[in-house]
């Protein structure tokens, strides 16, 4: 089976999952107590107005007709209008998504470039000083709540030392870079706006570190243990018996096999972080999906909640697809199996 068949199979398998997600989000909006029509027109509106709104929204139709209409609307890329700010939900998401994406991407990037070498090092130098220090740091990362780190980092580096900027994606005095993607780093690079680049990078440091620490700890330990597993396998002994240098054994023969579990974690973390970095986004006033979702829930903003849910599901599934493809590249048994 070649790569194209492999990927298209995975793509086809996404369709039923997406359908399931739409059914769930649709039911969710009908199970939660509260009348969307009433919410839309406001508490003070007369019953007459609410009735008209219900008619307009199609809430009196049978459930399956309503679902069908919802699906049609969804396929046109219309996620409805936010009750909170009366703007199309799609527009809100388009503004929020790049902020979350940028933060998540940078955090995971930091994770991967530190965790892989550190994981290898601690596996090869097992029970040496580096391993013990890493173990303590990892334990600290896993067991300390994110908000505590966030507040501590802000307190030290922003309030006390003043080395790094505080909340937000970019200094208020700096205009956001011009560009379409909404990813400040990419946009400022493309438009050669070095001032915006510097400011947005500095703003990223603290939240990205905060977000990456937990995952860094998990990933390092995971790479360490899968490296240790692989280094004990027969084919590593064969490689040694064939006289291969230790460098080739670790980086070529062992690492590739040890990366499969790591890729899984990176993929899942991406899905988890992009809509789930609620605490970090709140503490650093990061205008991302997580904080948007919390605000929507507090306002019972159903269209926004549903839009977020579907978007996060899509991201999760895409991340999993990428993970699957990466598996195929790393391990031929998965590609051909």
């Amino acid at each position: 089976m070649n790569m194209v068949t492999f990927v298209s199979r995975r793509l086809v398998a996404m369709v039923p999952v997406l359908l399931g997600v739409t059914i769930l989000t649709f039911l969710l909006s009908h199970v939660i107590p509260g009348d969307p029509a009433r919410l839309l027109v406001g508490q003070k509106a007369s019953d007459e107005v609410v009735k008209r709104m219900r008619e307009e929204l199609g809430l009196n139709d049978p459930l399956h007709i309503q679902y069908w209409n919802y699906l049609k609307q969804l396929l046109r890329g219309d996620l409805g209008t936010s009750i909170r700010n009366r703007r199309p939900v799609v527009q809100d998401l388009a503004e929020r998504f790049p902020a979350s994406f940028e933060l998540t991407f940078v955090s995971l990037f930091i994770c991967v470039i530190i965790a892989i070498p550190l994981g290898i090092l601690t596996a090869v130098r097992r029970n040496h000083v580096v391993d013990h220090v890493t173990r303590v740091l990892a334990l600290l990362g896993v067991s300390t709540p994110v908000f505590w780190w966030g507040l501590l980092l802000l307190l030290i580096f922003y309030f006390r030392l003043g080395w790094l900027p505080g909340p937000g994606r970019i200094d208020l005095a700096v205009p956001p870079p011009a560009g379409r993607t909404g990813l400040y780093i990419l946009d400022s690079l493309l438009s050669r706006d070095w001032r915006a680049l510097g400011s947005s990078l500095r703003h990223l440091v603290l939240p990205a570190f905060c977000l990456s620490y937990v995952y860094l700890a998990i990933m390092t330990r995971m790479i360490r243990s899968s490296m240790l597993d692989v280094l004990n396998l027969d084919y590593i002994r064969t490689a040694r018996a064939n006289g291969l240098p230790e460098r080739a054994i670790i980086f070529r023969h062992a690492l590739r096999n040890a990366l499969v579990p790591t890729v899984t974690i990176v993929g899942l973390s991406f899905g988890e972080l992009i809509g789930g970095a609620i605490l970090t986004e709140t503490i650093f006033a990061w205008p991302g999906l997580g904080s948007y979702m919390v605000d929507s829930v507090l306002f019972l903003d159903f269209p926004a909640i549903m839009g977020c849910t579907i978007l996060v599901c899509l991201i999760y599934m895409t991340a999993n697809l990428v993970v699957d493809i990466a598996y195929g590249f790393l391990d031929p048994r998965i590609r051909w199996g």
């Binding site: 396998l233 027969d234 084919y235 002994r237 064969t238 490689a239 040694r240 018996a241 064939n242 006289g243 291969l244 240098p245 080739a248 023969h253 590739r256 096999n257 790393l330 391990d331 031929p332 048994r333 051909w336």
Partner: protein
């Protein structure tokens, strides 16, 4: 077969330091392999056969293992005195090894060709193209059907017998003068075992290389080897030519092993066994290690470790009361 010594292991000790105590996996092993000779190393599981091979290659997992004493002379050079880099250049080129489990002995994520070419390039310092041609020739020599296609395959796409052929091809690709074969046919189907053994024998004879063939099957030894060393609990108890050992085994343990081979012509009801079990490697019995299981044992056996005694031309046994004839 030349008379020149290729490999000489003298009084080798390899210990494993575990929480349960020091495991003396190898406790005074002596071995000789002549040029072009196939030496069978026989013994029960856990008697130290594999550790002997790993010690020769310098691949004893450390920690917990360590070679604690003795000499390993290979082509006149002491391997225990070599630096890690020097050992690496010997492994795979002058001494090669094949293992018991062909299915797990090749890296699952690389093509057969890549794994063969990597080793050939490493030791012969040739270009990828010429390494590829040599890999094809080797696959052809191990009688692999359609070698060209096999180069592009992954290990999981081949059968155990095919993979063992690949392992042999890799091991012999750099013209080693010694091949360590650790139970190379144990994991294979009976029908394939003989094929692989014959193939190995042919290729070895053609190259005038020597083999240390580790096995627990005396049948394999009789069929394949020129000489035998019998191991028991970390020591070699008897060694000699295949003929003299099979005709007149002098150690009670060797004799016991021979009697354990079922003989279809003697239809006795029960299979023969050697009474007792292999001794605890942390607290081996004093004196002769075999004495608790030996029907001839006396007080001497439980106190004094027997020295090697010559009982025939090239036939040496470590026993106070060697069997006659």
């Amino acid at each position: 077969m030349g008379e020149k010594l290729l490999l000489q292991v003298e009084d080798l000790h390899t210990y494993f330091y575990t929480l349960q105590g020091v495991i003396k996996a190898i406790d005074g092993v002596n071995l000789c392999v002549r040029e072009g000779e196939i030496l069978g190393l026989v013994g029960e599981s856990g008697c130290g056969k594999s550790v002997t091979a790993l010690s020769i290659l310098g691949l004893v997992p450390s920690p917990p293992g360590r070679v604690e004493g003795g000499r390993i002379l290979f082509e006149g050079e002491d391997l225990l005195a070599k630096t890690p880099a020097e050992m690496r250049s010997i492994r795979g080129s002058r001494i090669a090894m094949i293992f018991q489990e062909p299915m797990s002995s090749l890296n699952p994520v690389f093509r057969i060709g890549d794994q063969m070419i990597e080793v050939i390039k490493l030791h012969k310092k040739v270009s990828t193209g010429s390494a590829r041609i040599q890999a094809l020739e080797m696959l052809h020599e191990v009688r692999m059907p359609d070698p060209e296609a096999v180069l592009a395959k992954y290990p999981f796409q081949l059968s155990g017998g095919m993979l063992q052929r690949v392992m042999i091809a890799i091991a012999l690709s750099c013209e080693p003068s010694l091949l360590l074969a650790d139970e190379p046919t144990t994991a294979l189907d009976v029908t394939v075992q003989a094929q692989i053994l014959n193939l190995m024998k042919d290729l070895i004879r053609k190259r005038n290389a020597a083999v240390l063939l580790i096995t627990h099957a005396l049948g394999v030894v009789a069929q394949t080897c020129d000489a035998v060393s019998v191991m028991y609990a970390g020591t070699v108890v008897e060694s000699g030519s295949v003929e003299s050992i099979f005709r007149s085994p002098a150690h009670p343990y060797t004799r016991g092993l021979m009697e354990c081979i079922p003989d279809p012509s003697r239809k006795s009801d029960k299979l023969k066994i050697i009474p007792g079990t292999v001794p605890d490697p942390v607290n081996p019995p004093p004196g002769c290690r075999f004495h608790p299981r030996c029907y001839k044992a006396t007080a001497t056996c439980s106190q004094i470790r027997p020295d090697p005694v010559r009982v025939g031309p090239g036939h040496v046994v470590c026993c106070h009361y060697p069997e006659e004839g």
